[in-house]
């Protein structure tokens, strides 16, 4: 069973329906016990990083998430679900996040330096650095849907799976062992995104 964590801050229906479309049993999870019972855990999210992390901690969901990751079971973070995995975020101040990976989450500065619009909103291409299980059978240069103002900067570059160009390359997905996380939205990326979710379900 694929569990999609509901902590009150995400558009969960889109993610759930996308998994159902590719033939997976996808359920919405709400409690620590729910997390412990699932094989594949998906952490989606929109909104502010600090609010999301605080909500997750207040509901006692942070430790079960970290236990799931440590157990080696497949984990997928989407958008804020990627950003939360790092140590610290800089959205309206400095905030501690879940700290699974060393590094930080920072705002794009391309509006200042290149005159580009922020949020980075729309379809952009993936440059494969390391072929993660998510990217199996995905055509080179495939476009996926992004909508975000912040991006992650890992200290350990070996976790980078793809980069994307927006006034320079930024990290658009990471992969280490059982953990994959994307800045883009597979559930909103039409057939390419559905194929990625199918790949995740097979992990």
């Amino acid at each position: 069973m694929i569990g999609i964590l509901d902590y009150g801050m995400a558009n969960l229906r889109s993610v759930q329906k996308a998994f159902v479309q590719v033939g997976s049993d996808a359920q919405i999870l709400k409690t620590p016990e729910d997390i412990r019972s699932c094989d594949h855990l998906v952490l989606p999210g929109v909104g502010a990083l600090a609010d999301a992390v605080t909500t997750i901690r207040n509901r006692g969901l942070d430790q079960p998430i970290l236990e799931h990751i440590r157990s080696g079971k497949p984990f997928l973070g989407i958008c804020l679900g990627l950003q939360m995995l790092f140590e610290v975020g800089y959205e309206d101040g400095e905030h501690r996040a879940l700290g699974v990976f060393a590094g930080k989450c920072v705002r794009f500065e391309v509006d200042q330096t290149h005159g580009l619009k922020v949020p980075h909103m729309g379809w952009n291409q993936l440059n494969v650095v390391r072929l993660s299980p998510l990217m199996q059978d995905i055509p080179e240069g495939a476009s996926v849907y992004f909508v975000h103002s912040y991006h992650v900067v890992p200290e350990d570059e070996s976790v980078v799976a793809t980069t994307t160009d927006y006034g320079g390359a930024f990290v658009s997905s990471i992969w280490r062992d059982n953990v994959i996380a994307t800045q883009f939205h597979p559930e909103k990326s039409q057939s390419v995104g559905l194929m990625m979710l199918k790949n995740f379900a097979r992990m």
């Binding site: 801050m9 558009n11 229906r13 889109s14 329906k17 996308a18 479309q21 929109v46 909104g47 502010a48 509006d111 580009l116 619009k117 922020v118 949020p119 980075h120 909103m121 729309g122 379809w123 952009n124 291409q125 476009s143 849907y145 992004f146 909508v147 975000h148 103002s149 160009d165 927006y166 939205h185 559930e187 909103k188 990326s189 039409q190 057939s191 995104g193 559905l194």
Partner: protein
């Protein structure tokens, strides 16, 4: 490279897609779910649903439409029209909308933009704006209109877009009433002025009659995305054919 987005817009009245000319005289253009699926197949980059239902009773229908669309369309969806409160926005986002577009209510209660941005992020918060070129004492001004284009506000377009950006809007859909539904081309001058004045993406709306109109607004008009309704609804052009045309003219688009 980030591609320019082509966005079909579906005006929905009590659960049916309609298309009007200059805001009035709506004709039936089909079932929203079928239309959404058709556009997904054609390679649309996003969809905008605009609820024009006048009655209170009819308004719950939109969340139901959104729920059904996200079961079959795996692409970003923006919903606008009739959003007056944070609760309205919450209901639509929980139904599956990626973004909500606030128009009249943002003018009446600017704090609404900040509240939505606070709860769902700037990325989910869209300012919808109906702009009109009007003459006042013989001088042309660009004025914001609300209530479906029926009510003048006295607010200048350029002032409002900058204020909305500060409040928390993450995107602006600029609909120019003078060109809306005419198929005579987008208002390039106003679109360019708005896009250059803010650092958030601007979606051009109102006046698309041909692929060339889209080319012009995405290049000379500095728009980040082009929204259109009637040229797609009645099969004059497909989204795919427009994108092929733009690609040949050197505009970065996502081809499927």
């Amino acid at each position: 490279m980030l591609t320019k987005r082509i966005i079909p817009c579906l005006d929905v009245d009590r659960g049916r897609v309609v298309k009007g000319v200059k805001f009035f005289d709506h004709v039936d253009a089909g079932d929203p779910i079928e239309q959404a699926k058709r556009y997904q197949t054609q390679g649309a980059d996003e969809l905008v649903f605009y609820d024009i239902t006048a009655s209170h009773e009819g308004r719950g229908i939109m969340a139901d439409v959104v729920q059904r669309v996200v079961e079959e369309c795996f692409m970003p969806l923006t919903v606008g029209g009739g959003i007056r409160t944070l609760e309205d926005a919450t209901r639509l986002i929980q139904a599956g909308a990626e973004k909500v577009s606030v128009n009249s209510a943002a003018v009446k209660h600017p704090q609404l933009l900040a509240d939505i941005a606070r709860k769902f992020g700037r990325c989910a918060t869209v300012l919808g704006l109906d702009a009109n070129r009007v003459f006042k004492d013989g001088v042309e001004v660009w004025e914001v209109f609300i209530n479906g284009g029926r009510t003048a506000t006295g607010i200048r377009v350029m002032d409002w877009v900058k204020q909305a950006e500060q409040l928390g809007a993450g995107e602006i859909v600029l609909n120019v009433m003078n060109t809306d539904g005419t198929k005579s081309g987008y208002d390039l001058e106003m679109t360019r002025a708005v896009s250059d004045a803010v650092k958030i993406p601007v979606v051009a709306s109102g006046g698309a009659g041909s692929p060339e109109d889209m080319f012009l607004v995405l290049t000379r008009g500095h728009a980040d995305a082009a929204l259109a309704a009637s040229i797609f609804h009645f099969n004059e052009y497909t989204v795919g054919s427009v994108k092929q045309y733009l690609h040949q003219r050197g505009v970065p688009v996502r081809l499927v």
